[in-house]
Symmetry: C2
Subunit: 708 residues, 2 copies
């Protein structure tokens, strides 16, 4: 890690591909290094020039008579490999390849990228790019970049680092932040990510003491688990990670595939990962701006109670409208609070929440009153955040508010946020004051509400005892599961229902009582409790119902015998080549609510557990949620809480409440099973998984193993 960070602090930079055409990427890089005052040595490289922009120009990397910490390559793709070879000879540790013409451009480019990587790996060179805008260290004025990153206005130094797979769009985010007064540490556009990728950079930035917040725009990635780990570490370090996932819809993903050549994972998996790690998802440019302002405040509300006060009743209504669905509440104020407010709020105003200070209240004459009012609501235990609506308040009033709120905020643990809509020409000075005391100012009440709600959720994530490992099975249990898996799954592929259930049962997921019979055998009727179900057992018949391989609701011994006979006949008739392993006789589950649970072992994200509404609801509701395995019961509860059918589990329609706790245990157990056996298990489908008044029970199950 420490190693990668030195990428950003080169004592010298060579730029290959400068030219009199100042629009060339290499020329832009050198000019930016000069213009913004890079303190290290700069070596332009081009055999055709003796000098460039007043600097000595070298014929090749080899000619440079000093150590080179970083080489920036801007020559056409065809020339890149020989430059990399020269870098290898010169023992250059880091290279940024701005040039396109690699993986994104077809078969020749793919081969070129492979060769490039081969040379770099064997020489220990780390590469940013190719096909990228490059990076800038804003604090040290290192510009290994071209295009918008090098253009005016220069970003101000600050504590936000940006990692983006799209240089153009990522820099759009940076510019919007800059316009809102936000400063930057490092800005890195990663392009093809053939060596250094976004997640590795995020990991490195977590170790950078100057970076306090990270913003990332990511279209695809190879290793979802690395992002998972980075997210967890960011949360535990308290460095917020804001992530914009590009390519979330079908056509977005299609556009993404044509844009870079990266692997786009499923958006649902990303969202699960965000929820599990406290990564803050963003989907609009102004969201990034607002959330950075909110985080910069450094104070986190311990709940959703908000006191709204100000001079615009409409703004308070709009805040309430936007906040309610996000979990914010204009809380009741205590009697003591209202008494304190009554002394400083005009009688035609309002001392309940939202507090109406009345028009024109923000004036020098009211300075002390305002201070009393704000302190009163801050002291109220129901209030977790104070939102002050300046609305159209002009220059003088905004300054008064900034001074008073700034003084009060100093001693306050609760965040204060402000909505101001006056033109910045009027409020520039006040905005500067607010910025100094880290009070975020938002451009609409709705945006203020969204940012406050985000802070509440972030704090909740931070406070959560985040045991990602579920209560462990004993060593004996784990090895029993693994032994069974190895025995039954010798050849890989789909396991039979009875084998699948045996494994799940060992893993801690209750299954129905089943007995397998080879032929008609009425005696087992006495051993079970009717009604019963019979199902054909064959690895060659995955869809049993379609061929008449299932009979349900069997109430008598005679019915049992005829049913066994019938499913065997149907199987022989409709699947003559299938190897029949017998007939499964099970006790039928007649109560409870049907869920579906399963595991997908994704190539990018590893095992992911999915749970959804089953039976008739599956198609109607399209109701499912997922999380990366393994996880604990708390996470299971959270998943169940997100299901649309959640209220059916609590005994909706007069039914008795079902055993949600047992379901949470089963999901956590399934997640542990999926994680521990990820090398073997490709897919699990438990359908239906009944939630009963007491316990849960899997009535059918299918485990698919990786092919050997």
């Amino acid at each position: 890690m420490q190693k990668l960070m030195s990428l950003f602090e080169p004592r010298s930079v060579a730029v290959v591909g400068v030219s009199d055409d100042l629009g060339r990427p290499g020329s832009q890089a050198v000019r930016a290094l000069l213009k913004y005052g890079y303190a290290g040595r700069i070596f332009p490289v081009n055999p055709k020039y003796p000098a460039f922009q007043g600097l000595k120009c070298y014929a090749s990397i080899a000619d440079i008579d000093a150590p080179v910490d970083l080489v920036v390559i801007g020559v056409p793709a065809q020339g890149v490999l020989s430059v990399i070879e020269a870098c290898a000879a010169k023992q250059v540790p880091f290279v940024v390849i701005l040039s396109g013409g690699f993986r994104e451009s077809g078969p020749d480019g793919i081969e070129r990228e492979r060769r490039m990587l081969e040379i770099a790996r064997s020489a220990g060179i780390r590469i940013v790019g190719p096909n990228c805008l490059g990076f800038a260290n804003i604090h040290a004025n290192v510009y290994a970049a071209f295009g918008s990153i090098t253009r005016e206005p220069k970003l101000s130094p600050g504590a936000v680092s940006l990692v983006t797979q799209s240089g153009g769009f990522g820099y759009s985010i940076a510019l919007a932040c800059a316009e809102a007064g936000i400063g930057f540490r490092h800005v890195i556009a990663t392009g093809n990510e053939s060596d250094i990728d976004s997640v590795e950079l995020i990991e490195a930035l977590l170790d950078d003491s100057e970076t306090r917040t990270i913003v990332a725009y990511i279209e695809g990635m190879k290793d979802g688990r690395a992002l998972y780990d980075a997210g967890c570490r960011a949360l535990s370090l308290g460095k917020p990670l804001l992530l914009w996932k590009g390519g979330i819809t079908e056509q977005g993903a299609r556009a993404a595939a044509s844009h870079t050549a990266s692997l786009t994972g499923t958006y649902d998996f990303y969202r699960a990962l965000f929820k599990q790690t406290g990564i803050v998802e963003v989907q609009e440019i102004h969201e990034v701006v607002d959330y950075l302002k909110a985080f910069n405040g450094g104070k986190f509300p311990s709940g959703g109670g908000v006191a709204v006060l100000g001079v615009s009743g409409g703004s308070a209504i709009v805040f309430a409208d936007a906040g309610e669905p996000l979990g914010l509440e204009l809380c009741e104020l205590g009697e003591k609070t209202q008494q304190r407010l009554a002394k400083v709020v005009p009688s035609i105003g309002a001392i309940h929440n939202p507090i109406d200070l009345t028009a024109g209240y923000f004036s020098a004459a009211n300075q002390e009153k305002l201070e009393t009012a704000v302190k009163a609501v801050l002291d109220d235990p129901n209030v977790h955040t104070v939102c002050v609506n300046l609305a159209t308040t002009g220059k003088a009033g905004s300054l008064v508010a900034a001074e008073v709120l700034g003084a009060v905020a100093l001693g306050a643990a609760k965040p204060i946020v402000v909505f101001s809509s006056a033109p910045s020409s009027e409020t520039a000075e006040a905005l500067h004051l607010f910025d100094e005391v880290k009070i975020p100012v938002f451009r609409s009440p709705g945006r203020a509400a969204k940012a406050v709600s985000m802070l509440v959720k972030y704090r909740q994530m931070r406070q959560r005892t985040h045991a990602v490992t579920p209560p462990a099975l004993s060593v004996r249990e784990v090895s029993s599961v693994q032994a069974t898996l190895s025995r039954l799954g010798a050849t890989g592929g789909a396991l039979s229902e009875i084998d699948s259930k045996a494994i799940l049962a060992a893993a801690g997921i209750p299954v129905t009582k089943d007995i397998i019979v080879r032929g008609v055998d009425g005696n087992i009727f006495e051993k079970m409790i009717a009604p019963l179900v019979v199902k054909i057992v064959s690895r060659d018949i995955p869809h049993k119902t379609e061929i008449g391989g299932v009979k349900v609701g069997i109430a008598t011994r005679a019915e049992l015998e005829s049913s066994i006979d019938e499913v065997l006949k149907n199987a022989r008739k409709h699947a003559p080549n299938a190897q029949l392993d017998g007939v499964l006789v099970s006790e039928m589950v007649i109560d409870g609510f049907e869920l579906i649970a399963g595991v997908v072992n994704d190539v990018v994200f590893g095992p992911v557990v999915v749970v959804g509404a089953g039976g008739i609801y599956t198609e109607l509701l399209r109701d499912s949620v997922c999380r990366l395995a393994p996880f604990d019961e708390e996470t299971s509860y959270e998943m169940l809480g997100e299901l649309k059918c959640r209220r059916m589990l609590d005994g909706a329609r007069g039914g008795i409440p079902l055993d949600v706790r047992a379901m949470a245990k089963a999901l956590a157990a399934l997640s542990q099973f999926a994680w521990e056996n990820r090398a073997q298990v490709r897919e699990v489908d438990v359908n239906p998984l009944f939630v009963l008044p007491y316990g849960v029970i899997a009535a059918d199950a299918l485990i698919v193993l990786h092919e050997r």
Copy 2:
């Protein structure tokens, strides 16, 4: 109407309540009239001053020696009534009351407001306010206002008029629009709306030739039907009406009730009204800005096909992500289009959608190529809108794009929109050019997508054959329904099931075959098709199931007899005081999907028809949609399309498709019934209303009439 518009064009304005304290509302009004150059005569009124701000100051309204077209009142509430009386004597047509202390301030204020209105009505005076910021005619520099409306910076003249119930928040919207270069016609903050209300103003503005778009912020209203009519007229005139409904959530509405004292209708009803009339709902300040820019373009896409071209692949992905759920599609480009593009797009770019022009493309050298590329996509029949991503493109490139796109746009019927994220310091000149040729420029790809999708929907609404009257019942049918209603509903209140069904059947809604019996009567078994249902009939027992008053699935004559006996016994036992009208025997509906349909006759919106998922889905899905009655079958289809359970009607889960057309007819018929009989019908509940493979059938129904 014409009358109301003269409010905005006074030849003279008197302001009552000026003072040396320049912060007083009256003083602010006079200063604004002077500062911004109002051309008419200004009469300050205050007996204590001989002159004010260089103008002669009058002791009273009566003293003014000239006609007064408008009086602005800023004196404390206690003094307002006598001023109104003076206005009456002076035959002043319009008064703006800035002062608070009326309905919003308790019993004394309510009485004051009543008296004020009484005097005004008898004198024919129309009033804006009280308790408001007033209004400004930006074109004629009429400032009958105080507070933010009168402060710098002055709004520029333009074609947008704003009506707002919250002065502070409404003017926040205006300021954000102004910052984006949008000009205004009239800005009116209506306060208590005790006389002139928002809807009347909207109606008037529809007749104002200088107003091309109307923005309204509304917290509550007395007459939803007036807004409905205004919305329909706005649509047919092609003057977009953007409406922000404040107080949409429970706590927002609570805050609204404490802020003004207006009646807040149900948000669902508002949304139905918006959908039926083409009113464009907004919920964020930047949405207003973006939509106004989009409308200002004056071109409307005839479909959701978008060609995205530019220099930032990431921006195209983000546009696609945001656009897909809104119905926008990055459409396939025709072969001919791609051939034309191939000639002008560099080979490392992309000629499929999104079109990658490659970095740095926007330059003077590419001017002709860019023109060819944009013309090529505009000519493609799949393309309805062209979105050009400038992203971070700087000054020179943006200017090139503005010139080329401006020239191309002149001859194009399809809209071109632009995303630019460069700082306005760089792009000011280009933005000005774009503005001149009415090409809207958005600050993020997502905001561009949202605006384009809004334009698509607006055009669809405009094009729709908007027959709000459903296929009429014959005169005979209508009078039969009305006769039945009058006969059965003599006393008002709830009708019995059999009466309710008889009325609905006459209104065109099929009902189950029912026979009413007084006691056990097995003979009717032969007249019906089993299975049957029996239900107790009594106006005094609204919830029949709870007291054992319903038996279902009756298959034999003997079962029928015992069931009739049993429900009668249960009714006598559990509701001994109920008057029993007999037992209803019905054919049981055993197929089809259960919906619930109903009518609520709302005090603000009149009769509203609601349809939702029935049976087990009601509670699970909370799935219902509504529209204001009456409406046509097309609207019924639209309603059914919005139901979460919609796909169950199309034969989900292997079932056969159900008769959606019959359901649409039934809903339209219900809406017509509800509208025509709105004076009598308070509520209708058709539950369940089964959608069958052929036809629909109401298995139970309840009509509640207004009490006489």
